[in-house]
Amino acid sequence: MPVESDFAFAADIERKLRSILFPTKRPRAPERGVIGIVYRSTGSRRSTLLLSELIYAEPGDVDWKSDVGLLFSKNYKSRAVSIASTRKRAGLIFIHTHRARLDGLPPEPSDEDYAADQRDLYFLGQDLSDGAPLVAGIVDDNFNWTVREYEFTCPMTVADARSRGPKYRLKNMRFCEGIRIWSNQLTLKDTNRSRRDRHRISQSTIHMTDSSIHMWGEEGQELLRRIRLGIVGLGGVGSILAEHAARLGVRDLVLVDFDRLSKDNFNRSQGATRLDFLLRRHKVKVAARLARKSAVNKDIQIIEIIGSVVEKDTIRHLLDCDLILNASDSPWGLQVLDQLAHAHIVPVITGGTIIKGKKQTGTLMSGKCEVTLSNPGVLCLECAGSYNRSGVTEAMEAPNVRGPRRYLDVPDDPGAVDTELERAPSVIATNGLVASLMLLRLQALIVGTTTDAINGIQRYHLLEGSLYWAVKTQCDVTCARKETVGLGDAYALPTGIDQDYKYARKAEPKNIVMRCFQFLGDFVAELRA
């Protein structure tokens, strides 16, 4: 059951909200309002209410009267209900404005606000699907928010429904603790009910991050400290990202990978020792150890998830994150994360390298590093060409029928096409380059260091030694991603069973004795080598 509660929306909604609620040209009533459609995004620790769409008011739909305050017309409310009731798991939010408080704190609901929330939401909620979020929000002139979600008990009989007012049916009211607004940059606002640690960064951290603070100030450093960052794939690129994120001042990390260290991947695993691969330690464990050792925040919190990004159990943990760095190159993983970025409004920065070399002569045939951002309103990873459905289909197959592009070296099935494993070469220097480009993009998004270098595909061509931006910056006209923005749990992500992880689980030694034998065998082989 998630204990944290957030409210989030994307750039497009922010723009619309500002134009409806804070118009610059028209004369403004003391309070303005709008009704929106909300969906829930449920992580393992955090539940986020996503504002997905605004229902535009017609003339006379929103009226302010000095004696009663702001009123939404019956017609407007019924239109909102009829839209939400046709959509799976859609709820409603009533938003209105308050004047900004002199102390700069987020707006406080008045007694009239509470009464109106309960009255409207209780009755309108009857026509929505079970569990649909019923929400009320107040926003002030400084775009500070207070958002609260209501839960009501359901009347058991008609007489029961008529006999008592909605206030007797209130089961629970919960304030959102944080507000995330993703436009070109992240705006992270605390409400005055925040559970998050709101203490300023410690003096010791300030000393350690002094050179960074010169660039983005203590406020920027505070933002970096407050985000929860997911890192998917703790191999060559991901292990560097984990260390650098901790040094950058990120305090809350979620690390995801199912793979273990081995002789094959040791050469590019930052922070790994020979003992780590002899003990076949999980990459997340080694990366977490490295991040803890490198952290400028003493109180760094790391969640280690041994799992696959294409499986539901892992996704829950990624939905707790504010931003995800993806360093895994599975096309299926890219597809899931791309769709997650849009449906749950959690941007994903993805990076990788493709190198083709001639082993015999040691020459580089071709190679490029690529870093792309997937975020509502900008180019999605599918339109960017980061993955295609044919590659996704192949990744869904068992490794022994997958052919040369499979990740694990497993014996071929007799019926399958017989191919030799041709794992793509990987070079630690390009991993460093990709990790740096990804972290620069993260800095741009969080602290706004390079606001012109946020969207699009950035490519480094190894043969030419040139770094440039791809021409394509917008999705294809037929792209379906924009239809899924903010749908949260109502949108089914294309998850399934990761065949590589399934194989890896099967290959695990069954008990401690087997594990010891395996370790001893590897140890002796290492000594001989």
Binding site: Q339, R389, T393, M396, G415, T478, K502
Partner: protein
């Protein structure tokens, strides 16, 4: 005939596609086997003689293998019971009498004599779940060995 899989366990979009298939060409289409990320769908019996297809067998049961995440991934492969043979005894391109994809399907009662036709359905439109309704037309294309 194999028992149908529990549809409540399948993703909504896949069930929408299956219903589209039933409404369009295959009224009795059913999921006979779910293996990890893919499902085997029994489309319908096909009268090969009536269709003028050059096989020694007069009819067959036609199956298609579709991803559970359709339309986010491509269908891959079809199967026939029994294994088909051309009248001129010529080999059929990428037809396997034994293949990992049909190992479990072949274990179902009555499906031991089975053939797997390897085929990537690259140009099939996959913009909405209802496109799964095109499955039968595409499977026939493979039987006709159209490229």
């Amino acid at each position: 005939m194999a028992a149908q899989a529990d549809l409540s366990e399948l993703p909504d979009a896949f069930v929408t596609g299956l219903n589209a298939l039933r409404q369009r060409d295959c009224h009795d289409a059913e999921v006979v086997l779910v293996e990890d990320n893919f499902a085997w769908i029994l489309l319908q019996p096909v009268d090969l003689e009536q269709l003028g297809l050059p096989f020694k067998e007069k009819s067959c049961l036609l199956f298609a293998r579709a991803p559970l995440t359709f339309p986010n991934a491509d269908p891959y492969g079809i199967a026939t019971v029994p294994l088909l043979h051309r009248v001129d005894d010529a080999a059929i391109d990428r037809l396997h009498a034994s293949h990992q994809h049909i190992t479990n399907l072949a274990k179902k009662p009555g499906y031991a004599d089975i053939g797997f036709w390897s085929w990537e359905w690259k140009n099939m439109r996959k913009d909405m779940p209802e496109r799964l309704g095109d499955l039968f037309v595409w499977a026939l294309k493979r039987l006709r060995e159209e490229k």
